[in-house]
């Protein structure tokens, strides 16, 4: 422990709230797990969990639902972090479910494995008996998420009953559930994208390199920039591959995550860019553009 004595703890309400939520998970549940994608939000979660339980280790394992269409940089980063912190990592592969014929791979121009993650997630929950799944979703991301609770109860089928949610009064979190149910927990519910980036900057956290500007082979479609990775991302013959300097604002499945042109090579520049941005981060996620209620529908079925 650091021997230097500081005067008084400096309050950061968002950080204090997230730590409080993590500690409630430890206090109320038997088998929690942190949903970890290797993205900036789940990296932030791990950092907050570290702070919540220090000097003890994070008392939860991580779970990654792997679409198989990840950016390799993210996976590399994930494995490194897990080793550094001495955590346990469970990986469930969407590919296994496709091979077993449990789910049908989408086809066509906009094919994505993003929606297929739900089945793998529900199987993982059942297999390991997880009763609380901690996720990095934020209310500012999307309008259906704006209605989400911090402790969000899911039934045996992983379904979200959006019209019948428990009221969350003051900071009291009610995690009581029946056997077979589980709770999705969102410690950074009240953070904005800028809050996350500022936190990464303040904490000098490591993040996967694809968040920073880099040269990449890409193609354009519908005014958006896609990674030219033909194995995962469908590309028409007339959609020409070019090289651009880009970065990613979210790291989902490669097939549904668009890049933005950027010269933000370091965290300070990224924070500046986000602060001045006129496009929301989900604006680069094709999965939300499918319909006005795309996210709400996915959530009802058990999506993160």
């Amino acid at each position: 422990m650091n021997e230097n004595m500081n005067d008084k703890v400096v309050n950061n309400p968002l950080e204090d709230e997230a730590i409080y939520i993590f500690r409630e998970v430890a206090g109320q549940f038997e088998k929690p797990v942190i949903l970890f994608s290797g993205g900036k939000d789940s990296i932030t979660l791990v950092r907050l969990a570290q702070k919540a339980f220090y000097p003890a280790k994070i008392p939860f394992p991580l779970l990654h639902i792997d679409t198989g269409h990840n950016f390799p940089e993210t996976i590399e980063f994930r494995d490194q972090l897990v080793e550094e912190l001495g955590l346990e990592l469970h990986v469930h592969y969407v590919q296994d479910n496709i091979d077993a014929g449990n789910v049908q791979e989408e086809s066509g121009k906009y094919a994505s494995r993003n929606g297929l993650q739900t089945d793998s997630l529900l199987q993982a929950i059942e297999k390991h008996g997880f009763d609380a799944c901690i996720g990095g979703a934020r209310r500012d991301e999307e309008k259906a998420r704006a209605k989400e609770r911090v402790f969000s109860v899911r039934d045996d089928f992983g379904q979200w009953d959006e019209k019948n949610q428990r009221p969350e009064v003051f900071d009291m979190l009610n995690g009581r559930i029946d056997f077979g149910q589980n709770v999705r927990v969102f410690p950074i519910s009240n953070w904005t994208e800028l809050d996350v980036w500022s936190y990464i900057q303040q904490e000098k956290m490591e993040i996967p390199s694809i968040y920073f500007a880099h040269k990449r082979k890409v193609f354009e479609r519908d005014g958006m920039i896609w990674s030219a990775h033909d194995e995962y991302v469908f590309r028409e013959d007339n959609e020409l591959v070019m090289e651009k300097i880009v970065r990613f604002r979210t790291v989902g499945d490669m097939s549904c995550t668009a890049a933005v042109e950027s010269l933000a090579f370091d965290i300070d520049k990224v924070v500046e860019e986000i602060a001045a941005s006129t496009i929301s981060e989900r604006g680069a996620r094709i999965d939300d553009k499918r319909s006005e209620a795309a996210m709400e529908k996915r959530k009802q079925q058990g999506y993160f």
Binding site: M1, V9, D16, R23, A56, P167, F170, N174
Partner: protein
């Protein structure tokens, strides 16, 4: 913009159906340039599709399919924006009579409440309820926005009549310490929301956003005694921290310092604070809101739910309590039924002894003998606890004076309770 995240102001909005709450929020987002291009495009598209002549900003906040279909807000939505000065979180709560529970929910986490009045209708029953709930929850800062001024030709006379009507409510209210600010606005057209309006040039006060920006957090902070409820006991069991036994929790009220004489409740064991830490740093003191870990000088038995307080600032202690309950469940609250009572993070079994009376929420304070409390009712209730709890009256410490009741069968949060100050407790 960056670097202000340590400053957050939490707002909630209350109004009746069609008072234009969502429109007001949409307007704030629009005029503070908080709506990104893609969100704005979506609003333009939907507005056009619905055949509106103007941009329907409520589309920025009504998130669920059912809400957009019916053009109403069903559930509390959280909206985020920031200015150069600080970050804001708005809890947008529905205005329907049947959704009072959402208003209590939204208000419980906010520091400032915005009450909307439709200038054409003036102070109506719903306004009284909203004001009443804000008083019940002891919201210190209230902004009364008289909206739709455009529809009454920006009339100063009519506006002032509404303000006078509202002041009558204030004189009837038992809670007198709040600041109430009146502002005439037109959310739809943007008058006095962020920018000053020429149509309302007779109004010399600040616009709504100017007013919010000038609220000082230190003025609206609750002054309360230090209450530290233990969430989890941290025992690393590593070589480096072999004997470490830390108590993790979020400090509610006041300040704790290394060396403070403290008492652990309910056991009553006394000790001193040995260390206060946040992550890997040690501190001499911590104040309200900090999620810290403390260690004690003595090896006393402390577990989750225990309350650590300064020895000269002991809270109340009892197995029977009297509290105001706002009921939130479809299943009514009945005398002699049992519930789990969650006080902060501590869960105890409880039984409703008597329902003293139901309290009218229309600000008249009228009481009525009833045999049950239905959803959205407020009542005074006596509760028997399976074990003692250590608490304060809600008016003295919100964090240590509120609790929820959980239905043991459905597990849902069925009601919220506020410990009463006036009632004498047997020790």
């Amino acid at each position: 913009m960056v670097g202000n995240k340590n400053k957050v102001l939490k707002l909630s909005t209350a109004g009746s159906v069609d008072d234009g709450k969502s429109t007001l929020i949409g307007r704030i987002l629009y005029d503070t340039h908080s709506l990104t291009d893609d969100k704005l495009e979506a609003i333009e598209r939907s507005s056009k599709q619905k055949g509106y002549d103007y941009l329907d900003f409520s589309l920025a906040t009504d998130g669920l399919v059912a809400e957009r279909e019916q053009g109403i807000t069903i559930d509390v939505a959280h909206i985020y924006f920031s200015t150069k000065n600080r970050s804001y979180i708005i809890a947008d709560t529905p205005g329907h009579v049947e959704y009072t529970r959402n208003m209590v929910t939204g208000t419980s986490t906010s520091q400032v409440s915005i009450i909307l009045i439709d200038a054409r209708k003036g102070v109506i029953e719903q306004t009284k309820r909203h004001f009443f709930i804000n008083n019940l929850l002891r919201t210190k800062e209230i902004v009364v926005a008289v909206n739709k001024m455009d529809l009454i030709d920006f009339s100063q006379e009519k506006y002032e009549a509404i303000v006078e009507d509202f002041k009558l409510l204030i004189s009837d209210s038992e809670y007198k310490e709040q600041n109430i600010t009146f502002i005439p606005v037109s959310a739809l057209h943007g008058d006095n929301v962020v920018d000053k309006s020429e149509n309302l040039s007779w109004f010399k006060g600040e616009t709504m956003m100017e007013h919010l920006e000038n609220i000082r957090l230190e003025d609206i902070q609750e002054e309360a005694k230090a209450r530290f409820q233990v969430q989890t006991v941290i025992r690393p069991k590593t070589d480096e921290f072999h004997d470490f036994r830390g108590y993790a929790g979020k400090l509610k009220g006041g300040e704790l310092k290394v060396g403070d004489d403290v008492t652990v409740l309910p056991s009553g064991r006394k000790s001193q604070i040995k260390s206060i830490s946040f992550f890997d740093q040690q501190y001499l003191a911590a104040s309200k809101g900090s999620s810290i870990t403390i260690t004690l000088m003595d090896d006393v038995n402390v577990s989750r739910g225990d309350l650590i307080v300064k020895s000269e600032e002991l809270p109340q202690e009892s197995k029977t309590i009297s509290a105001k309950i706002c009921w939130m469940d479809n299943q009514p609250l009945l005398a002699s039924s049992t519930y789990f009572l969650q006080h902060g993070v501590k869960l105890v079994k409880s039984k409703i002894k008597t329902i003293e009376h139901k309290i009218s929420t229309d600000n008249t304070g009228e009481i009525e003998k009833v045999s049950q409390l239905n959803m959205n009712d407020l009542g005074l209730v006596e509760i028997q606890l399976a074990q003692v709890l250590n608490f304060d009256s809600y008016n003295e410490n919100k964090g240590n004076g509120a609790f929820i009741l959980i239905d043991a069968k459905s597990n849902t949060t069925a009601g919220v309770g506020f410990w009463e100050v006036e009632v004498a407790f047997d020790k």
